[in-house]
């Protein structure tokens, strides 16, 4: 992720202050997030449901 994209996404997330005070941490976070997403395989079945499934219960 290039610097301009990181700044754009950080501002959209409301992180102007972090971007000013801790730009290296913001850049490292963006890199880590894209790395995690890239390493995740898509489900093999396009109809795969997420976990936890929708449910009802006494506490809801």
């Amino acid at each position: 992720m290039d610097k301009a994209m990181v700044e754009l996404l950080a501002r959209r997330a409301g992180l102007e202050k972090a971007l000013t005070e801790f730009p290296e941490d913001v850049a490292a976070a963006a890199e880590q997030a894209s790395g995690s997403v890239a390493r995740m395989k898509a489900p093999a079945n396009p109809r795969a449901e997420p976990w936890p499934p929708m449910r009802t219960g006494a506490g809801l």
Partner: protein, 464 residues
């Protein structure tokens, strides 16, 4: 009575109930040990010694008058400082919550008190249960009693260090990516992440709603089962709580493993994340020992640690961002550097990525369920390395993700970490046992067989 600090919770509870041990004498011994060792180990954020001593006196009077509160009457317990204890601050080891006094006990604390346990105080953690050993926070990080130059694991650092050092026989921790099992591994004790939903999370500061678990840390398997007996149970006000029967976790502890089928997940430590040779040797030794006790060992394959780790991070960071986003926007400088770096990634993960991770998660749950239809219990690595030197930030950063604990936060299956032996440097090595959902009793049965065969409940650090 000498050596009270190594007394197990079960032995202390029995002796107290029989009138052979005064809870006041036990508390005095532990408070004296805490005064001597805590300055080296930084286990406590807040020691509540006066209240603990008053509770010990009350317990003594109750027992003398024939009144028993429960199976832990008079036994001290430490509480990780993300868990509410009424009247004490829940700081999460962070400047952000330094004055956050809890109005009520968390449900897990309430269960322990109901069984007669006495809260000693609040224990060090990684900031918000995620930061790592940090030196830029209001309190120093806990240290490892086997060698205080080393990291005690985390994030339930004070819980692991304090139990291993004999400051208290049992503690509560939380586990979102391995935070009960990591300190159990690094400190050579027993740490359980129960099945998701078995122990209420109400009153615990969240890190990731669908990955968070509360679990016991103890020096023995028996104590862990005893604690889980008290902690487990349905809580209708915790949306993740499971309405299942619970209890009697210690009933089959001595049954052994003859005829039991144990699946060994070798690829985790052999190819996915190659382990330190001493860790690998410890795992092989445990497998051989369990086999010699009558278990059938077979190889099992699951998705790789890399795949599990990616799903865990996407879910954890997304859910943690939902909690921490407002503070990260307004007060980023009030976090320590490590927590800030580990919480910010959620800002860069899309809703689609999160849902995709949740869908992949269901496939991973199915893979573990399929494996557990063929075997009774899984054996695998916990930490791939002995604990790092705490002030070597690069080594801690390198070794921190080298573990096999996150898969079972993703899938929710119960997982227990314990000592596999000691390294040539005298530091704990570890293993992990994983069971079917809500089959903690079977996990304890295997863990107890290994504990007894290896004599690891007799191994304590030489500190003090």
């Amino acid at each position: 009575m000498s050596g009270l600090h190594w007394m197990t919770a079960a032995a202390a509870a029995r002796a107290i109930a029989a009138g052979e041990l005064s809870p006041v004498e036990l508390m005095k011994a532990l408070l004296a040990r805490i005064a001597r060792l805590d300055p080296k180990l930084n286990v406590f954020i807040r020691l509540d010694g006066d209240a603990a001593m008053a509770a010990a006196r009350a317990a003594e009077a109750e027992i003398a008058s024939g009144r028993s509160r429960g199976p832990l009457h008079g036994v001290p317990v430490g509480i990780k400082d993300i868990i509410d204890v009424a009247g004490l601050p829940t700081t999460c080891h962070s400047k952000l919550l330094i004055d956050n006094v809890a109005a009520a006990d968390a449900v897990c604390v309430s269960h322990l008190r109901g069984a007669g346990a006495i809260v000693l105080g609040k224990l060090s953690t990684h900031e918000f249960a995620i930061g790592g050993p940090s030196f830029d926070l209001p309190w120093p990080p806990a240290r490892n009693p086997w060698n205080p130059d080393h990291h005690p694991g985390g994030s339930s650092s004070g819980s692991g260090s304090g139990v291993a050092a004999g400051l208290f026989p049992m503690a509560l921790g939380s586990d979102t990516g391995g935070s009960v099992r990591n300190p159990a591994s690094a400190c050579g004790i027993v740490g359980l992440k129960p099945t998701y939903g078995l122990v209420s999370r109400r009153g615990v500061f969240p890190l990731s709603f669908t990955l968070d678990h509360i679990g016991p840390l103890t020096r023995t398997v028996t104590d862990n089962a005893l604690m889980l007996d008290v902690l487990a149970g349905h809580d209708p006000l915790d949306p993740g709580s499971a309405a299942v029967p619970s209890g009697r976790y210690a009933s089959g502890l001595e049954r052994g493993v003859r005829g039991m089928r144990i699946g060994f997940i070798r690829h985790f430590h052999e190819t996915d994340v190659p382990a330190d040779p001493e860790v690998a040797a410890g795992l092989e030794q445990a497998a051989r020992t369990l086999q010699s006790l009558g278990a059938q060992i077979s190889d099992v394959r699951l998705p790789t640690l890399g795949e599990f780790g990616a799903v865990n991070r996407v879910i954890l960071q997304s859910e943690a961002w939902a909690i921490h986003g407002p503070w990260l926007r307004e007060r980023p400088g009030d976090y320590g550097r490590l927590a800030r770096r580990r919480l910010l990634p959620g800002a860069f993960i899309s809703a689609g990525d999160y849902v995709q991770a949740a869908r992949r998660r269901l496939e991973m749950i199915a893979a573990v369920e399929a494996a557990l239809r063929e075997v009774d219990v899984l054996l695998c690595a916990s930490a791939m390395d002995p604990p790092s030197r705490i002030e070597d930030a690069a080594e801690t950063e390198r070794t921190y993700p080298r573990q096999a604990r996150t898969p079972f936060n993703v899938t929710g299956h119960p997982a227990l970490a314990m000592m596999a032996g000691l390294s040539s440097d005298g530091l704990p090595l570890s293993l992990q046992l994983v069971g079917r959902n809500f089959a903690e009793a079977t996990l304890f049965q295997v863990a107890r067989a290994w504990e007894r065969a290896a004599g690891i409940d007799e191994k304590h650090p030489a500190i003090g």
